[in-house]
């Protein structure tokens, strides 16, 4: 149990990830992406909203996988001590930032991540498993995404630092 509570080294995580990818390929004989699962759940939700009825979930193996990941993450967070109820983004300030800011930021980022995934044919996880299967396109996607994500994250961080420095200057 202590082994589960402790933070693992990155090489332990990497070995476990490789084991799970290979086990998944052996068991399901399909690429292990969560893109189809998320699409299926989203389409069910859309149908439910459009037709005003309770969502009918198509229990494919993708949906089962997503269901398992949800409860696995819940158990993992409890064991690891990472469970924390948070209603707003950690770096948002003020009432509007914590309510409307969080909602808008989440909506826009989620929209972009999924739009990019649809254009590239798979989301990040599916691209990692495809790259492990020697896919040149998946490797290209991973490199492009990580560079783009790094630049965006750095840009946002710099602009926040500038804002906080300006606020401090105003207070002084």
């Amino acid at each position: 149990m202590l082994f589960l509570k402790k933070r693992w080294y990155s090489w332990v995580n990497a070995v476990c990830l490789v084991f799970f990818v290979m086990l998944g390929l052996y068991l399901f004989d399909e690429n292990l992406g969560f893109f189809d699962a998320v699409c299926s759940v989203c389409e069910s939700a859309q149908d439910a909203v459009e037709e005003h009825h309770a969502p009918h979930i198509d229990w494919s193996w993708h949906t089962g996988l997503l269901f398992g990941v949800f409860f696995g993450s819940f158990c993992g967070a409890l064991i690891h001590g990472a469970f924390k109820i948070a209603w707003s983004l950690e770096d948002c300030r003020g009432f509007f930032g914590k309510t409307i800011g969080t909602a808008l930021w989440g909506l826009v980022s989620g929209f972009l991540v999924m739009l990019g995934a649809i254009m590239a044919g798979e989301a990040f996880t599916g691209q990692i498993t495809a790259a492990i299967q020697h896919s040149a396109g998946a490797l290209f996607f991973l490199v492009t995404t990580l560079i783009s994500a790094g630049i965006t994250a750095l840009f946002i961080e710099r602009s926040k630092e500038k804002d906080s420095a300006a606020e401090k200057g105003d207070e002084q």
Partner: protein, 196 residues
């Protein structure tokens, strides 16, 4: 010798029906725990890794690629697993990668980690999931109206890196990529910040 014969006669299990669903749920449970252990469910840690404040996830990704590509080649040669690669146009992957990266850099969440974050108590991940749901009609619109444009102006990028001359030869690009990833991992592990 008998073990070798059994190993070489193996094929993917390729489950189907209810058994596949049941195994997928159990598999997902373990994968969910692993996602939390890898800190993928915590967007603050993911963003720290994207801005190189921490190198933990870069090391994880590099070692996963290096080890995974070699293990996959080994298992594929023994027919334990099979390759599943979809063909996609170059511009689709490039534009998709850039757009996905902007979204990832903004919030640090991808579809599966949004589910994991929600399960870890981060209720705000719901907004990301709603955003993802809203992307589906937009993507359908693009696919119906501009889908042909992307494939018209670009060739297929999803070719395999595996060499036709065999797996364990020097002209196999997959082995080179795995080797480069391993060397980068070692450099970061030796020269980068030490993990506590």
């Amino acid at each position: 010798m008998n073990k070798l014969i059994v190993f070489s006669a193996m094929e993917p299990l390729a489950l189907s029906g209810d058994a596949k669903l049941a195994v997928a749920v159990i598999y997902g449970l373990f994968l969910g725990v692993l996602l939390v252990k890898c800190d993928f469910s915590d967007r603050v840690i993911v963003k720290d890794n994207l801005t190189f404040k921490s190198m933990r996830m870069l090391k994880l990704l590099l070692l996963t690629l290096a080890l995974g590509m070699v293990v996959f080649a080994l298992l594929r040669d023994h027919h334990v697993v099979q390759q599943h690669i979809a063909s996609l146009p170059f511009w689709g992957v490039l534009a998709g990668g850039i757009i996905s990266g902007i979204g990832l850099g903004m919030n640090g969440l991808i579809p599966i980690t949004a589910v994991s974050a929600l399960a870890s108590g981060r209720i705000y991940a719901v907004w990301s999931m709603i955003g993802m749901a809203l992307a589906l009609p937009a993507a359908n619109f693009i696919r119906n109206n501009c889908g042909g444009v992307l494939s018209k102006f670009s060739g297929n990028i999803n070719t395999t890196l595996a060499s036709e001359n065999g797996t364990w030869v020097l002209d196999n690009p997959a082995l080179w990529v795995a080797g480069i990833a391993l060397i980068l991992f070692i450099i970061i592990a030796v020269l980068g910040k030490k993990e506590k």
